[in-house]
Symmetry: C2
Subunit: 402 residues, 2 copies
């Protein structure tokens, strides 16, 4: 398994490109992207579990009923959620993409991100979509075009070998901005040239999403528009993966590595964030308990604010564990903070230690901090990611819409 460049175009036979339609007012950046495969793909997806779903989610669900697709069209600046003419406009967006690509409308996946409740100016999309220049090096252009309050493009790609054939898997994503999958919008688009059945592709994606994007900061709830899609065109020429054999395991590991790399980029680029927080829970009774605890810690405003202040306030960590509703024995809990600058254990078996405050400060001032929690109750572990809570978070979200 080798980390490579190329993002969502790292796999054979995938092109991407972008254009500015003017949906994001007052900004010069592109806001519409297309991603397309040279041939039909098996496709799998996971969607937001929010009760309120945007129109493009419903249209994509329809188009993926047959399990195949060839392209993705995605705009930023407008979420097409709770918006007038939502379904009609999402269909027009797919149709416009199908038109310029010369493919079936039903082969196009549609996604949107941006403001809720305002009509999507689909006419701008219809007007400008023909100007998109597709390229086998188009990953960065597409990654840039799907950004909203993201400050950095996000992509990852991996090369791996299945049955003697070199395969690739890559992707781009946009942060939830919020870094809370339950609030902002998280979009991830993945491609692979590995040959794999739709069923195996969906299994691998669902499992990996649960342990990557859904472990970013909050409880697996999602915004109105969240979507993660993968297209597999089989162009690597390997024998198709049809069941959960060794090849499947190799594929899963590669896919998961890409997803974790993208998820970490989302967490690190949370709105206003100055640092990436990783919470590792070990020795839990079950993976579910470990995950609940790690998520509760990563999404606690008090923990997040303490991390911003480089304050080793482990009481807040323990408190967040306490209200997570996961079972654990407080009197067993050991908590440590670590980073490039070192490691400091602050609480041992539920009791505060007289730790080196100066070292703790140094550890927490780094841009990547790990909170390690040991429960000494079982064999299960989980890792979640989040970021700190800062002045800029409040600034960005105090006036995003206007």
């Amino acid at each position: 398994m080798k980390i490579i460049s190329g993002g969502v175009c790292a796999a054979k036979g995938f092109q991407a490109g972008a254009v500015r339609c003017g949906i994001k007012p007052g900004r010069e950046a592109d806001d519409l992207a297309i991603l397309v495969s040279d041939c039909e793909c098996n496709a799998a997806a996971t969607y937001t579990r929010n009760r309120v779903k945007a129109a493009p989610i419903y249209v994509t669900m329809e188009h993926l009923e047959d399990g195949v697709a060839r392209a993705v069209v995605v705009n930023s600046g407008n979420a097409n959620a709770c918006a007038p003419d939502g379904m009609d406009n999402a269909r027009r967006q797919a149709k416009a993409a199908a038109g310029v690509l010369g493919i079936e409308e039903n082969s196009v996946i549609v996604a949107s991100t941006g403001v809720i409740g305002q009509r999507l100016p689909v006419e701008c999309i219809e007007d400008k979509i023909g100007q998109i220049q597709l390229s086998y090096n188009g990953s960065d252009a597409a990654a840039q075009a799907i950004m909203t309050t993201d400050t950095k493009r996000k992509s990852a790609a991996i090369e791996f070998v299945v049955g003697g054939k070199t395969c690739h898997i890559g992707g781009i994503c946009k942060g939830s901005g919020m870094i809370h999958p339950n609030m902002g919008t998280m979009l991830a688009f993945l491609t692979t040239d590995c040959a794999i059945t739709q069923e195996m592709l969906q299994d691998a994606l669902s499992e990996s999403v649960r342990r990557s994007y859904n472990c970013v900061s909050v409880d697996g709830d999602t915004s109105t528009n969240d979507m993660c899609v993968i297209l597999a065109n089989g162009m690597a020429g390997n024998e198709q993966i049809e069941w959960q054999n060794e090849d499947y395991e190799i594929f899963y590991r590669a896919l998961h590595e890409v997803n974790v790399r993208l998820a970490r980029q989302i967490a690190a680029d949370g709105e206003g964030a100055t640092k990436l927080i990783t919470c590792e829970v070990n020795g839990a009774r079950s993976e579910e308990a470990a995950e609940r605890l790690a998520k509760s810690v990563c999404s606690s405003n008090l923990v997040k604010a303490a991390m911003f202040g480089a304050d080793a306030n482990w009481g807040r960590v323990l408190c967040a564990m306490g209200y997570s509703k996961a079972p654990f024995r407080p009197e067993y809990v050991t908590i440590g903070f670590s980073s490039q600058a070192g490691k400091v254990v602050v609480c041992d078996h539920g009791q505060g230690l007289d730790f080196d405050e100066e070292l703790a400060k140094k550890v927490l001032l780094e841009s990547e901090v790990v909170i390690t929690i040991d429960l000494y109750e079982g064999e299960s572990s989980a890792t979640c990611w989040g970021c700190d809570l800062t002045y800029d978070y409040v600034k960005i979200n105090g006036d995003y819409r206007t």
Copy 2:
């Protein structure tokens, strides 16, 4: 029912007082308070549901096993949670109070609020507690002494008539600071001269706490130290309330009015808050669903930040409802914002309205804003309270411990 002054000493036969022990370093304010009744009281309490509980919670549970008490001793500056010698020190704190009051140790309720994980300097308490000057006008002194990051003292009192006798109920509280009952510490101490059995007192308190303090901002989870206690000394001379008759209803309404007034003060004084947010959900299928929706809206960081920015971003309200896990039909939802400055309906049956942005801004710039949500699905309602998310919140919590 009449609003009166006097706080926790409004009821006959209750004295309070406070002193500075030096537990809050570098501050001049008092940090230890005592509240005592002239005679034995029936007592009821609700405690944090956090899995991690502070030592004073366990000691108070022990002391209230018999359902009676006479006094409360409470310190701020140190939570005595996950702290060395926690149980011993909480017991010493109760014993010190019993000593100066000349009562049984078992009649004393103990509470603490402040930093987690550090040993309570109980010696300071033992040293200074004798200097407390008790007074029938001591409510403000006690309310002041229990504050941590609160910026205002919080108290309320009501006069009401039961069976021809004038009764009083009053209380003081300290905000969770955080205004999230699941994170900071919420302490409330209530007294009444109304005669009521311990069982009825507990019923009324439990029911009222669920609809008041537990409706402040979050999901009913609580910090390590949260506690709400009521003492009833019967000195009003009414016939004792022994079952859920008309007198009980009168008592409940008075108690609930005091609790709602205190809960609103907590929400409005959330750390860094500039405004009180009330969320009313009407027309829900069940009270539970209404409550879940209202809490989800009040505790959404995105909604809170939008309120700080006076941004009528109703998409965030709908999104927060969507991930609350409560049942509702998005296509029925109507959302409005109101305040002293007027009312503006922003979403009708799930679709954005073309509302007056200028009026909306005016409405949201007020210090008390109400978000009204109509579901048109049933007859149930709920109200929750919260505050906005501000720069100061981040500032206060980025470096609270040091």
